[in-house]
Amino acid sequence: MKYKQIIIGAIALILANSVFSQAKKPSLMIFPATTWMNAKGYYTWVDDQGTKKQIWDYQRAFDTNKELKAVITAIEGLMVSRGFPIENLGSAMQSNAEQAALNNVDINKTGGGIAESPRDKFLKTAKPDIIIEIDWTVYREGGNNSINLVLVGKEAGTNKTIATSPPGTSQPSLSGDLTKLINEAILDKIDNFNAQLQARFDDMFANGKEISLNIKVWDNSPKKLNDEINDDGDLLKDDLKKWVAQNTVKGRFTLSQSSPNFMSFTQVRIPLFDADGVAFDADAFATNLRKYIRKTYKIPSESNAIGLGFAEVVIGGTR
């Protein structure tokens, strides 16, 4: 009996992994924490209409700090070896810069350039689904060296913290080699951290992927969210809320904000696959909502997603 249970469990795990591997995998990216950036001076101050604001200079940090490169390389290597593919932030920024330059010089036979709205430019940043923030402090006392390494995993679409590394400083080591110290510190924490990430992925498989959804209205839209749609006094936003409930896993969502021009849904659980078995994501969810609005109310809308975790629908026109 016991063996039968083990076999069934193993088969279920294999099947689950197989199915999950066909779903859209979240992208992970390692960022130096803002506390580290601040301590090392990788920022500039700008005036934001009367308020002084820090903006982080990730490019300079990547270009000039060898320690950062060593830490990220070590973590990336360990994550990849444990089955978590990582996108490199430095490479992503470089790729965005190259793409922007290419768009600037690209021209077709009739003199047209690449269409790019201010919004398109605004979104040309590194956008992983899961951000892994890292911060570390090296302690050197006599011949003993240790590192306090902190890892925090955050889901970009939901702003939730989904994994944190266990607190504590690594065991003192006589080695002065930073790479060796980092590897020891990471090895001490990475499995626990990855287990939390995996738990999140498992939850996603069981209960649907969690995203956020914003519904907005163009200022010249024929309908606002508080317009009545029938003689019973139902408003447009009531119907949209009903649609979200019908199209989420177990009707799970939270309406966190509602006004005539804006609805914000968080903790929205969408299935990993659609009815045809195709991998499903925030963009597909937003597309379905847009089509529903078009079909039901004859109103064109704009739908889009940012990464895998954030969906947006703007009612009353297109960009």
């Binding site: 982080w56 990730y58 992503a92 201010p118 605004f122």
Partner: protein, 304 residues
């Protein structure tokens, strides 16, 4: 400056707008406008001017200018950080010497970039040079410019006359020839006023040049001296009152050269300065030359 010559262009009837000249000018003190963005904005104004049928004239009294105000600014804590600006840009056309606006038009532009300069340039690139809303804006400005000349015509002529009295003939002619031909009554008065000033100018220059040529000839009385003096004499307008003396000196030089060198020296009259020519073109050329020389001295005043 620019003037359109009805005689040269006849028999076509020209559009009023085509005759008005406006220059583009951006003051230095605009919020957030770096050198690169400043140049781009000025270039856009030049494009708007020419696209909408006006003459783009760098030293014109009347200017198109623009002011930029930041409506919203957003900076994102992303990698890389992005700055997004919503800018209100207000175009003005008016009298750049007096700092008086005749017309204005506002629009909103959006720009995004990794720093403020890039965001500004991104926004300025979105300025449409063929926006149909410019029409009413320009038409109102045109009416203001015409009204200015109708109201101030006598004063402008009086100023020009005063300049001529102090022998600032080029400045006087520039002032009178800057009046657009579309302001027909003022234009006619100005052309009547410019003729005697032009005559005074060539008379004065005749005396000065004749003196200079005489001194060169008397000092040398050689073939080279003859040519140097001859070049000066050739530039004297035949309509000048002292032209008889010019011819007399030329004859004297020719006779002397033949006596000494046995060579024939011929006084060449500049064919451009003929007895019959387009006087208005001559006035205009003087005005243009003077205006171009004043470029670095022009100090515009803000229109807002």
């Amino acid at each position: 400056m620019s003037i359109v010559f009805a005689e040269a262009q006849a028999p076509q009837k020209m559009n009023d707008k085509d005759r008005l000249s406006i220059g583009a000018w951006i003051p230095d003190q605009i919020e957030g406008l770096t050198a690169g963005a400043h140049n781009m904005l000025e270039n856009k104004l030049n494009q708007i001017i020419t696209t909408n049928g006006l003459n783009d004239s760098p030293n014109s009294r009347f200017i198109m200018s623009a002011n930029v105000v930041v409506l919203t600014k957003n900076i994102t804590p992303t990698a890389p950080p992005m700055q997004a600006f919503t800018l209100e840009i207000t175009f003005y056309i008016g009298d750049g010497f007096e700092g008086k606006s005749f017309s204005n038009y506002s629009t909103t532009i959006i720009g995004v970039g990794e720093n403020e300069t890039k965001a500004y340039i991104s926004a300025l690139r979105n300025i449409k040079t063929n926006d149909p809303n410019y029409q009413a804006f320009i038409d109102k400005a045109k009416a203001g410019i015409l009204a200015y000349y109708e109201t101030n015509c006598d004063f402008i002529i009086k100023e020009a006359t005063s300049l001529a009295k102090t022998r600032e003939y080029d400045a006087a002619i520039y002032k009178l020839t800057s009046i657009p031909t579309v302001c027909t009554s003022c234009w006619d008065k100005a052309m009547n006023a410019v003729a005697p000033i032009f005559q005074d100018k060539i008379n004065f220059e005749c005396g000065v040049k004749l003196n200079k040529a005489m001194n060169i000839w008397n000092a040398g009385q050689s073939w080279d001296a003859a040519n140097q003096a001859g070049n000066i004499l050739s530039s004297i307008d035949p309509q000048a009152t002292c032209y008889a003396e010019v011819k007399s000196l030329a004859d004297k030089i020719s006779k002397r050269i033949y006596e000494v060198d046995k060579r024939e020296w011929i006084f060449k009259v500049d064919s451009e300065i003929g007895l019959k020519r387009d006087l208005i073109k001559a006035y205009r050329d003087i005005g243009v030359a003077y205006g171009n020389g004043q470029a670095q001295n022009i100090q515009y005043k803000s229109l807002w």
